[in-house]
């Protein structure tokens, strides 16, 4: 028994000694979703630099990976342990926090030329709710179809300029015995990037916005036929074999890996993934990119790119708003933004930070295409309300496996949206 007690005492001692090493400092907690080694390299350095310049502030940083972050932030909200600074996607994902009063209003702090002018209006706008700025954009991202130049050349194929050409391209690749598109939909957000882009192309913009934000009358929500057509088109990609086998059982990262080693002609990637293609077999063969091409005669907008800025919010309950703001200001300073871009390979929302010196020509070109686009169609799963988005997420798998029909899916979306609207 004495031993037991001794061990308990020891264990409690370890427990007591671990948290809260720096009690005399102002502790600012910071949670983001970039745990990958190259991202952490930047954030660790930035935190260290900030703390060196502000010795009275201690930034306690945590990182959770992309998919689990969606659960984690909800858990934290529920436990009332919201970090002082936390990551958020733009659109409904962030708006929901603003709506419930869980975010600090940043409108005043951002005003004035110094801070606000660092960002383009297009990256600030998705972080506004009822006219107030609730988040600071950190990077911008958009989705492109990446293709393997060697495979295209081998079969005499070229980059499509219309959606019909894109379909023909896939058919040609299929006929030539290639896997047209590497696709990993194990975590079903991957499907929403296709479906979101198709919705934007096939549903009139005002109708779509009204549906996503639940501003339309309950009986008219999601009734436009473009939704069903878009889902049918997505399903046909799977049915015709444009995607590799077993997409539902493969992670997006595995699909990207398959493209990298030349097992497929194309893969649908985000701009912030471009840097991962450097020094790989596909880099030797050459690669290029194009957005999903415009669709002739479709009801929606063809000049939007699927993509969104990511950003940071500050908790409404933070005890140290000044310090939190100072840190956000610091990491979005031109100097830090340039370091962020060059260290991580990501883009930045800060104007002028993505240059030939800080990034690759491809990323630069991708960003240019984004700037030239008329606007963004935000990530579907973070732009729709949670319940409706969940239906689409599951449907992205169900349509591929043949367990869902486009009509039945939209029926479920309508039911989910109506219920959410009734609760608001």
């Amino acid at each position: 028994m004495k031993h037991l007690l001794a061990v308990t005492a020891l264990a409690t001692g370890i427990l007591a000694s671990l948290p809260g090493l720096a009690q005399d400092k102002t502790v600012v907690s910071f949670l983001h979703k970039f745990p990958e080694p190259e991202n952490m390299a930047y954030f660790d350095a930035a935190v260290a630099e900030f703390e060196a310049a502000n010795p009275s502030i201690d930034i306690v940083m945590e990182a959770v990976a992309d998919e689990p972050y969606k659960d984690k932030i909800r858990v934290l909200m529920a436990s009332d342990q919201v970090p002082d600074i936390y990551f958020s996607w733009s659109g409904e994902f962030g708006r929901k926090f603003a709506r419930e009063g869980r975010t600090l209003d940043l409108t005043e702090a951002l005003k004035g030329p110094e801070w606000q002018s660092r960002f383009a209006a297009a990256s600030l706008e998705p972080f506004q709710f009822e006219g107030k700025q609730f988040g600071i954009p950190v990077n911008v991202d958009s989705k492109y179809m990446i293709y393997n130049k060697a495979i295209f050349e081998k079969h005499g194929l070229s980059v499509p300029t219309t959606f019909a050409e894109f379909i023909a391209l896939n058919d040609a690749l299929l006929a030539a015995g290639e896997v047209p598109i590497a696709y990993g939909n194990q975590s079903p957000w991957a499907a929403t990037h296709y479906i979101g882009d198709l919705f934007a192309k096939m549903v009139p913009d005002d109708v779509r916005q009204a549906d996503y934000q639940l501003l339309a009358p309950a009986d008219q929500l999601y009734t436009h036929p473009g939704y069903v057509e878009a889902l049918a088109l997505y399903k046909s990609f799977g049915d015709k074999g444009y995607f590799n086998n077993g997409a539902n059982a493969i992670s997006h990262q595995q699909a990207r890996g398959a493209f990298i080693v030349g097992r497929s002609a194309m893969v649908y990637l985000e701009l912030v993934e471009f840097y991962m293609l450097a020094d790989t077999p596909v880099a030797e063969q050459g690669w290029g990119f194009f957005p999903l091409p415009p669709m002739e005669g479709a009801a929606g907008r063809n000049d939007l790119l699927t993509g969104a800025p990511d950003g940071f919010l500050i908790s409404a309950k933070t005890e140290h708003p000044e310090e939190a703001l100072a840190f956000l200001n610091f990491i979005t300073s031109p100097d830090q933004a340039a370091k962020y871009v060059s260290t991580t390979g990501m883009t930045s929302a800060v104007i002028g930070s993505v240059t030939e010196q800080t990034t690759t020509p491809e990323t630069l070109a991708g960003l240019k295409a984004l700037e030239d686009a008329a606007g963004m169609a935000l990530w579907l799963d973070t732009d729709m309300d949670t319940a409706s988005a969940n239906v689409i997420l599951a449907a992205g798998q169900g349509l591929l496996s043949g367990d869902e029909t486009p009509e039945a899916v939209m029926e479920k979306v309508r039911a989910a949206a109506k219920e959410t609207l009734a609760q608001r």
């Binding site: 529920a78 539902n248 059982a249 595995q254 599951a394 798998q397 496996s401």
Partner: protein, 300 residues
């Protein structure tokens, strides 16, 4: 088990001492197991989200909603399939394997080696097992698919975890892979407690190994069979980790079980009252199984 101390009604003073000794354990159970379990039933009558602080009393509406939720039937069926396959494998197959290893068919050294090999998966964390099998089952590049191609069974190749028809079965298979050896080792201990001379007597009568199994081994370890069956069924009811790691209930909710459905409702869909409703259903099923166990053990 006869209790030496229960002859007389204890005095209050005597009782106080006994209560003090069990108090810490009881306190833990009340605070962390029973209390929350009862609170959970209360939660199930409300509709509320993590984000806002409004609680709406909805009575039994959550239960009605659950009953009409097609995912609930899928989950319940999956739990039942899970239990059926697990009982077959972990009780039936494991018992046969244990009997063979204990029947001295193999030299001692090999029998030990087999036991260790079959036991090995059970010491690994479920998360690691799930992730490793996810890699093994990956279409095209995974080991399983490659074996099928190399052995000319390419037509069997499929995205085991990616198809609604096979996803839950692939997960259940992995679970059997992990636990059958462990239960087998449990049975080996139980079989060793069966008197040796019973076997010897039957052997002299010329009974075969199969006959010995049915007439001595099975009755001899009946108690263990009962307990293992109950544990396996309870385990299938509360299964969460392996499913969450391997499929997270997908594709398209086809491998959802009650545990994943509950977790998703609470922490992804932000419907905490609804999640509590699912947990309450789990509670009552577990309670029923527990009562059945007590009844069965009394009837013996």
């Amino acid at each position: 088990m006869p209790d030496r101390s229960d002859h007389t009604q204890a005095t209050l003073r005597q009782s106080l001492q006994g209560w003090l000794w069990v108090a810490p354990a009881l306190l833990f159970l009340v605070v962390f197991v029973y209390g929350p379990a009862l609170t959970n039933i209360r939660f199930s009558m409300f509709s509320f989200s993590a984000m806002s602080l409004d609680w709406d009393f909805v009575g039994l509406n959550n239960y009605l909603r659950l009953w009409n939720d097609p995912k609930f039937m899928t989950a319940l069926t999956n739990n039942a399939i899970y239990a059926a396959i697990s009982v077959t494998c972990q009780v039936g197959v494991a018992l046969v394997l244990a009997a063979v290893l204990e029947a001295r068919v193999f030299p001692n050294f090999s029998a030990n080696l087999f036991r260790t090999a079959l036991f090995l998966p059970s010491i690994l964390p479920v998360v690691v097992v799930g992730l490793v099998w996810q890699l093994l089952l990956t279409p095209t590049t995974g080991l399983i698919d490659q074996i099928l191609w190399e052995t000319g069974l390419a037509s069997w190749s499929r995205a085991w975890l990616g198809e609604p028809d096979t996803a839950i079965f692939a997960v259940i298979f992995v679970s059997q892979w992990q636990w059958t050896g462990y239960i087998m080792a449990l049975f080996m201990v139980a079989i060793r407690a069966v008197p040796r001379d019973l076997y010897e007597a039957m052997e002299i009568d010329g009974a075969s190994g199969v006959q010995q199994f049915w007439h001595i081994t099975v009755p001899g370890v009946r108690e263990t069979i009962l307990i293992v069956t109950i544990i396996t069924i309870l385990g299938s009811l509360k299964v969460f980790d392996i499913v969450w790691v391997m499929t997270a209930g997908g594709p398209n909710h086809s491998s959802e079980v009650l545990g994943t459905m509950m977790y998703r409702a609470a922490f992804r869909d932000d419907m905490i009252g609804y999640s509590s409703t699912i947990a309450t259903v789990i509670f009552f099923i577990a309670l029923t199984i527990g009562l059945v166990q007590i009844k069965l053990q009394k009837d013996r």
